[in-house]
């Protein structure tokens, strides 16, 4: 019997697995920030973290962070720059992996963080921040978000951060490389079908059934027969996550 963990901790662990050693990673905030710290502390000790505010560091900060601009993230950084240089690395194709979250995602991995709802029931969301830039310009994009029916929709109303648009060939036509490679939710891990560019189940988290994922997804999502089970975090992984998020602010 493994150590009990939260859904958030499983997502962080699985996101960390996306980071390869020596990669330059556009880290972002919240769960991805913890995923970077976990990867850096375990299988990817030479992964370099880049933050859009201009911080570049190759060692975890000494104390937990709430935002990328918190003082512990600057102390011991390798470089503090402006956004132009950080985004320049991204735009020039030097960032292999970027993480973002989203309020709404569709079958082609397009993300909406601008506005949801219709007519007089519109809910205004904060907007892109750097998410659109990361979605357009990172080599691989990993999306980490909660799996709910209202969030997994057939077609997003606003494309704040482009995925594969309307399917295969769309990014090329827009002048975009890269694209989403993985979506990690609290229920499953998804990849994108190489031919259709549609989001399909890659593994289900322990205890999650195909029907549960279908019910929470707003399009007829493809689940392979006998889908693999998502790997679970070890005690070491959980200890690292809990060291960097002692109050469980992000991971619980």
């Amino acid at each position: 019997m493994s150590t009990p963990y939260t859904a958030g901790e499983l997502m962080i662990f699985r996101a960390a697995r996306e980071i390869r050693d020596r990669e330059l990673v556009f880290v972002g905030m919240r769960l991805p920030l913890l995923a970077y710290l976990l990867a850096r502390s375990t299988h990817a000790p030479r992964a370099v973290g880049l933050f859009e505010n201009g911080v570049l560091r190759d060692q975890p900060a000494a104390e937990p962070l709430i935002t990328m601009s918190d003082p512990p993230n600057l102390r011991g950084a390798r470089m503090c720059m402006g956004m132009e240089t950080a985004m320049g690395l991204l735009q020039a194709g030097h960032v292999q992996l970027g993480f973002i979250g989203g309020a709404e995602i569709d079958r082609y991995g397009n993300l909406n963080t601008t506005e949801v709802g219709v007519d007089d029931a519109v809910v205004r969301l904060p907007g892109s921040g750097g998410a659109c830039d990361i979605a357009c310009l990172a080599g691989r994009l990993v999306v980490v978000m909660k799996h709910e029916r209202r969030r997994f929709v057939e077609r997003v109303r606003h494309v704040t951060s482009p995925g594969y648009g309307t399917g295969r060939g769309w990014r090329d036509a827009q002048g975009l490389g890269g694209g989403p490679s993985t979506v990690i939710t609290d229920k499953a891990v998804f990849t994108f079908h190489p031919r259709t560019r549609e989001m399909v189940v890659s593994s289900l988290h322990p205890g999650v059934t195909p029907d549960e994922v279908r019910a929470l997804t707003g399009w007829p999502v493809v689940v392979p027969p006998d889908p693999p089970r998502t790997e679970e975090p070890s005690e070491t992984d959980l200890a690292v996550i809990r060291r960097y998020d002692p109050e469980g602010f992000w991971s619980r």
């Binding site: 601009s69 601008t114 892109s128």
Partner: protein, 306 residues
Amino acid sequence: METKLYTLPEAISLFVRPGDTVAMGTALESLIPFAAGHEIVRQEIGDLTLVGPISDMLFDLLIGAGCVRRVVAAWVGNVMMGTGYNFRRAVERGAPHPIEVVEHTNLTLQAALKAAAQGLPFLPTRTALGSTILERNPGLKTFRCPFTGQTLMAVSALAPDVAILHVQRADALGNAHVWGNLGVTQEAAFAAERVILVADEVVAPWVISSDPNRTLVPGFRVAAVAEARWGSHPSPCQGYTNRDDGFYRAYHGASRTREGFEAWLDRYVRGVEDHGAYVRLLRDEGRLAGVAVREHAYTVAADYGF
């Protein structure tokens, strides 16, 4: 020596006018000029266009206080907590009055300020292609590169009337040292018609010239320098002030309702006479001890000798 030193109320009343386009929060979550924002509310300067990449909490507060007509930003809210309730109320229900939102990404906002700083009509980028952000920003247009034929995104120049920048230290001439993440601070400083510096510490000019690589902007670009220790609170200022997470949480809870937000303004903004009174209030609430630097970490001095 020509001095540009003013009190913060003087600097705001002299150099921020109703209807101005004002850049703030340019370093992202740190060095946010909250003290200046609070002074804008106290002086009831309205009809402003706010410019900034992510504007952690301050834009939401200014919107709720009724100072804002338009927001030009990539993200508006409370970074730690998510939603900015005043932003939502203004966009969804026109309360306290409707605002216009011009959407950006962090990179397009950076490029817009950079273009203005360099006297260019636009700069090319590869971002926002295929997004619907350009539907809500007339300053973004795709075009074909004249050399490669590739599709690129043109970002039109954005020159603020005034940039208000919180800095660690500045001299009385307006030469400022800033360290840490810079975000779009330098672009804003060179793009704006006027620059107001709010410094945690005013130092002698020789301190600035001892380390010119750390100088953000030369004094001749600066209109005013105001000293405000703790002036970035609740945002951090490396080496001076740590982040006050509890304050952001409390704001999120208070601003959930219009009444709660009004009570917040009465307590922390309108109800205090000036920044000095705000600092005394923070001290009385035990907040200053929580955000004071616990352990200093000085750089090794660089040698400019010859």
